[in-house]
Symmetry: C2
Subunit: 373 residues, 2 copies
C-alpha cells in the first residue's frame, strides 16, 4: 500500500470508530489503525543550513518531539535549505503543497507583502517576552493567521534568537550621517529601513560575507548574534561589533504549514503540533541564551570592539522606521491591522517592563561589572 493509498484508507476508516476497530480485527498482523492518530509522513523544508545548529536544530527538535509524542506514527523529515527547495522558496513550497510544512522566517517574504515582516520582527518592535505575550496570550497567532490564510499557510511561532547584535562594521558609526553610502549586508525588511538612512543594503549569502568584508566590497554585515557570528569569523575582518540590533529586538521564526494539510489533521495531531512548536520556540531561545554569553566573551578576547549605537543615531533610525510605517499603514490594510495590534502591546509592555524587570536586571548588571556575581 503506498503512503497515498494508506492516507485515503485512513480517511475513510476514520469516519467511524467502529469501522476502524473492525478493520483492525480483519487484519490482525497489520499495524493498529487509530482514527485519531493515523500514520503520517510529512516533509519539512528549513530555510536554514545545518551549520546554524541552533536555528536549524529547532526544526529537528520539532520533528523529534512530534515523533516521540505519537509513538512514531507521525514522522516529519527535515530538509536543510537548498536540499529540496531554496531557503527563500520555503513559503511558496508550502503554499503550493510541494512540502507539507516549512521552518522559516516570515520576514523573508516581505517582498510579497511587507505584512509578512511583522510576525518575525520589524525595527523597534517588541522584545522576546512581549512578542510571546502577544502571540500566545494576546491573540497574535490568530490575527496573523488571517493574513497567512491568503497564502494557503497556517503559521505557528517556532523559535527566537532574542535581541540580535547590530553587526560588524569596518568603520565607526558616530552620527546618523555615517549610514550614508554604507554598504551593509542585511537581509529583509531591515535593509529597506536602512536604505532610507542612505545605507546601501546588500543581499549576500552567509558563506560569501567574510570575503566581501575582507576585501572591503562591503563596509558592514549583520548576521545573528555572538554564537552564530563567531563561527563565520567576522571579527577578524571588521572589528566594530555594534549593538543593539535595532532592526531585530527579537526575531521569531515560524513553522508554516500548508493550510489544507493543517485542516485535514485530526484534532489530536493539531494539538501535538502546537505543543511541539512551543517546545521548539522555548528551547531555541534557551539555546541562544546559554550559548551567546560564552561566545561574546571569546569574541571580545579575540579583539572585537563592542560599540553601542548612540542615542542620536538610534533616534534617526527610529524616525526612518516610523516614516516607513506611516506610509505602509496608509496603503496596506493588512499591515495596518497587524502593526497596530503589535504597537498596542509595545506601548503597554514598555511601561510595565521599566519597573521590576529592568531595575532588577540593571542592579544585577552593576554587580556583574563589579565582579560580584
Amino acid at each position: 500500500m503506498t503512503t497515498l493509498d494508506r492516507r485515503k484508507f485512513l480517511k475513510v476508516a476514520g469516519a467511524g470508530g467502529a469501522a476502524t476497530a473492525v478493520a483492525a480485527c480483519d487484519q490482525p498482523t497489520a499495524p493498529a489503525v487509530h482514527e485519531a492518530m493515523p500514520n503520517l509522513s510529512w516533509r519539512m523544508t528549513s530555510s536554514f543550513p545545518k551549520s546554524l545548529d541552533t536555528i536549524y536544530g529547532a526544526a529537528e527538535t520539532f520533528a523529534r518531539v512530534v515523533r516521540e509524542m505519537t509513538d512514531g506514527r507521525f514522522q516529519i523529515q527535515v530538509f536543510a535549505g537548498g536540499e529540496l527547495v531554496g531557503g527563500l522558496q520555503a513559503a511558496d513550497s508550502v503554499t503550493d503543497g510541494t512540502v507539507e510544512m516549512a521552518h522559516t522566517a516570515s520576514y523573508y517574504y516581505w517582498g510579497k507583502d511587507p505584512t509578512f515582516a511583522i510576525p518575525t520582527c520589524i525595527p523597534f518592535g517588541l522584545n522576546c517576552r512581549m512578542q510571546n505575550a502577544w502571540m500566545y496570550d494576546g491573540g497574535g497567532i490568530d490575527l496573523v493567521n488571517k493574513f497567512y490564510a491568503g497564502y494557503n499557510i497556517y503559521g505557528l511561532p517556532g523559535g527566537n534568537t532574542g535581541a540580535q547584535m547590530g553587526g560588524w562594521f569596518r568603520r565607526e558609526i558616530n552620527a546618523a550621517e555615517d549610514w550614508k553610502g554604507l554598504k551593509i549586508r542585511i537581509a529583509g525588511f531591515g535593509g529597506a529601513i536602512l536604505s532610507r538612512l542612505g545605507a546601501v543594503p546588500q543581499q549576500i549569502a552567509g558563506g560569501d560575507i567574510y570575503p566581501a568584508l575582507e576585501k572591503g566590497t562591503i563596509d558592514a554585515a549583520e548576521w545573528v548574534g555572538p554564537y552564530d557570528d563567531e563561527k563565520l569569523g567576522f571579527h577578524r575582518v571588521a572589528r566594530y561589533y555594534y549593538y543593539p540590533g535595532w532592526w531585530e529586538g527579537q526575531a521569531m521564526l515560524h513553522f508554516f504549514i500548508n493550510l489544507e494539510k493543517w485542516n485535514s489533521l485530526p484534532k489530536a495531531y493539531q494539538a501535538i503540533i502546537r505543543a511541539a512548536a512551543k517546545t521548539a520556540d522555548t528551547t531555541m531561545m534557551a539555546g541562544y541564551d546559554m550559548q551567546n554569553p560564552g561566545a561574546i566573551r571569546r569574541l571580545a578576547r579575540a579583539g572585537a570592539i563592542l560599540r553601542p549605537f548612540s542615542e542620536e543615531v538610534l533616534d534617526a533610525c527610529f524616525k526612518a522606521s516610523n516614516d516607513a510605517y506611516a506610509e505602509l499603514t496608509a496603503n496596506n490594510a493588512n499591515f495596518k491591522t497587524i502593526y497596530e495590534a503589535m504597537t498596542a502591546v509595545r506601548a503597554e509592555g514598555y511601561l510595565w517592563f521599566q519597573l521590576s524587570e529592568q531595575t532588577m536586571d540593571t542592579y544585577m548588571m552593576i554587580q556583574q561589572r563589579k565582579d560580584a556575581l
Copy 2:
C-alpha cells in the same frame, strides 16, 4: 471495571502488542486499547486557589493540552489548593502517592531542605530568560531532578510570573535600617533573608492580608505583581508599591510527578507531559506579560505610589543574601551543587544581556516616556 482494575489490566495487556490486539477484538464495544497510549486517569493537586487564574490556569492548560494530544485517553483532573490536600502539602502528597502529580512552587518546601528554593527562585538569582536557558538548555532540569529523586518526585518547569514586585508598604524604605522591625507578609525563603535584615516575616494566607494591612497588624505585604495584587486591593491600605521584587526576579513553578508514576509512563506519554509542561510554562508567562501592564496603569491611577528600592537598600539585601548562601553552601552539598550551577549561568548571562537586550529595552523605555510608542 474500576480505574485501578483497568490500570492493572492495561499493564498486563501492554506487555505485548499482539495480546492487546486480541483483547480489543474480543471486546469490540470497549474503547480501543493501545499499549503505547493507554487510557489513564490522574489527579493533580494545585497549591493555588482558582482566584489566581493565571497561576491556577497553568495547571488547567496542562491538563487540557494532555487530553487533546492523547485524544482524551490521558485525563488529568485538577484540584485547587485545599480541595484534596492543603496547598503546602502538595509535595508530600506526590511523594507518598496520594495524588499522581501536583502543580506547585518548589520553594514552598525549603523548610525540608533549602535546596528546594533554588528551582523556583532565590533572592538575586536569575531573570526569566536565564532561568529558562538554565533549565531547558543548561542541564538544569536533570540536575534538579537528582535532588527531587530523594523525595520520590520528578519535576518539570510549569509556569513563571516574571520579575515580581517588591510589595505594598505602609511606610517608606529609604535606608537598610528601615527593614528593622518591619512586619512584612512574605512567603518562603525570601522571608528568611529579610529576617537577616531585621524584618519580621509573617506567614499570612492571601485572604487575610488585606485586613492585617488595614489594621496595621503588618507594615507591608508582598504577593505577586500588579495583575494579582490588584484583585486583593492592597493599594487602598498600603500606598507604596516597591520594586524590584529582588527576592523573586522570576518565579518558576513546577509540575511535581510521583517518580514511580513517571517511570511507569509509556515514552510517548512522557514526551506529551514534557511538551504540555512547556506549553503551560510559556503561556503562563505570556499571560502575565499581557495582563500586568494594564493592571499597573490602573493601580497607579488608583493612587498607588511606585517607589524603587535605592541601590544602597539593594546592596544591603544582596549582602544579606550572599551571607546566607555562604553558610548554606558550606553546610549543604545539594544546595552547593545547584546554587553553583545557577550562579554560573547568572555570571555569564548578566554579561551578555547588558548588550543588545538591555540597551534596546532602555532605548524603547525612553521612547515610552516620551509618549512616542
